[in-house]
């Protein structure tokens, strides 16, 4: 068992069992049932949504309009707890939780790359939304192709069921 205040390399980690965040806004979407919420944007058929950033953070949106895509980091507020081995969307096989995007993670943090379609004050209109309605927002980061696009990355276990689903049914998003 680890002593979580000192790592095996002797680095002082402070009180890391007490990392506290707060919602900075809410994500709204058409998805009200977590069983039917697509796990990733390419499955979402350009579903629309809205980010309501709490007004006290609106100043932080300066210059965001120039980006076509945003990385949203959010809290899986309906997570059922943690399963280290789990079955992803559309799959029959189980995988380690760090090999999939399932919400039952040790820390229930979600990440989606969405299209930024419009900004009005503290409200963002977004597309390619795969996020449950009412989800608490933790952070917004710009999607920067130079940093975030890895053209030669390998897909791991993610295979034909996923690829066929996206190519066959999600239309234009399959090529992104």
């Amino acid at each position: 068992m680890w002593n979580h205040t000192t790592s095996s390399n002797g680095v002082n980690l402070g009180n890391m069992d007490e990392i506290r965040y707060k919602a900075i806004g809410i994500i709204y979407s058409e998805f009200t049932d977590k069983a039917n919420t697509p796990i990733q944007g390419p499955f979402a058929k350009n579903a629309k949504g809205t980010v309501e950033l709490f007004t006290e953070y609106a100043e932080g949106l300066k210059d965001i309009k120039g980006f076509s895509h945003l990385i949203l980091i959010y809290h899986f507020h309906l997570s059922d707890g943690c399963s280290l081995i789990s079955k992803p969307f559309l799959e029959d096989n189980q995988h380690g939780i760090f090999s999939i995007r399932h919400f039952n993670r040790p820390n229930p943090i979600g990440l989606s790359i969405v299209k930024l379609e419009n900004v009005k004050g503290n409200i963002l209109q977004i597309g390619d939304v795969d996020i449950l309605n009412g989800t608490p927002l933790l952070d917004i980061k710009p999607y920067v192709p130079l940093f975030d696009t890895k053209l030669n990355a390998k897909n791991g276990w993610v295979g034909n069921p996923h690829l066929d689903m996206v190519r066959g049914e999600a239309g234009e998003h399959g090529s992104e």
Copy 2:
């Protein structure tokens, strides 16, 4: 001022001022000074690092070896607090915090896409590391090109100083 337990749309948000996470591991790197830590992997010249996942989570690494890149989500433990307007690495101009990757965010959550080079038990050897030594790890997600590569994404304000730096000095990483 918002009442953060009920949004303007009347969705019950629960007690969102109390989102608590815990470190699930530690990221080690050669970067010991936050002023000199590259903000993004393409600036890092394939700097090497190690993720020490606490052993109680090691089972969750099943199948991760098939992925060439991972998304690491971590806590900026040396964040100085929040500045809604800030200056990014290599820039003279200020931008909204949600348009940049700076660590002084409302929730100091960091995100990096790193190369996965080797896995031994609960230890991951990683490359393209732009993370401060001793950083608390919150989550690992597989980088899936189908989900995470947006070929036509626009770079926003991110312009020549960044692009020249990467292309001129980071060598092979500039083309990723």
